[in-house]
């Protein structure tokens, strides 16, 4: 069985994710957010997973929402690691992936929620 991987024209993939805790009073600044992403990659894919460069392009501290950029080779690894991440320092949490695109402009508008993010 031959596996065909199509690289396509995209170099990077952009994800709009938000981090949700069961308790609402937890504050997460941008450095902690990046550390949590790296921890998710570490548990799922080990040290080779953390070697992947994930950039936090924008971070909204109130909604704990961020736009991430990842190279196409690490895209499926990042998304699967974020999906299966459940606990951070004994607190239950979950990553919600709202939008994914190979083009950053596409994240400006979200037709599901009818919200145009101007920031």
């Amino acid at each position: 069985m031959k596996r065909i991987v199509s690289k396509g024209p995209a170099d990077y993939f952009y994800l709009k994710v938000s981090l949700e805790f069961t308790e609402d009073d937890i504050e997460v600044d941008v450095l902690l957010f990046k550390a949590i992403i790296v921890k998710a990659l570490l548990t799922m894919y080990g040290e080779t997973g953390t070697a992947m460069t994930v950039d936090v392009l924008k971070y909204n501290e109130d909604r704990k929402e961020a736009i991430l950029r990842v190279h196409h080779s690490g895209f499926s690894k990042l998304w699967s690691a974020l999906t299966l991440f459940g606990y951070y320092s004994q607190k239950q949490c979950a990553f919600r992936v709202h939008q994914v695109s190979s083009c950053l402009m596409a994240l400006a508008f979200n037709s599901r929620q009818h919200m145009v993010h101007a920031n």
Partner: protein, 163 residues
Amino acid sequence: MVRFKNRYLLCELVLEKDCLVYPIEQKEVYYVVRQAIERCHGDYGAGVTQGGMNVKYLNVYTKTVLIRVRREYYKLLWSSIPFIKSIGRQKLFFHSLHIGGTIRSCQKFLVKYGQQQLAVLLQKCKTQEERKAVQRATIHCTWLKGLSNFENVKHTEDDDFSD
């Protein structure tokens, strides 16, 4: 085709303080390798290699290890092996020699490798007795090889692996 295809990784254990025999069990090697894969490749690596991984052969005298892994995931094992620094209290590292598709191909490589190592040993010999012993061993190998070519006899080194 429903056959499981494997890769056999042949390694040599290089101990910090080289002694003739260091008692290591196959179980210990297996756990140390599992830990290394889990550290380097996480839950994914551990889960994917767990099904087909097996320490097929371990010789503490020649310090040779043969590890089997599924063909699709042999690179995960191969890349994690250099990160092993000790087994129990003994500091050592794995020197990976060969990756083969079958045990037989690894045996063939081991025979050639042994002969090459004898040549290296001959240069390193310090006393006349050591030199004579190494030369005797070299002649014995080449004599056996010639005999097997002449009479089509099965090589005696194969018996080490037949268990």
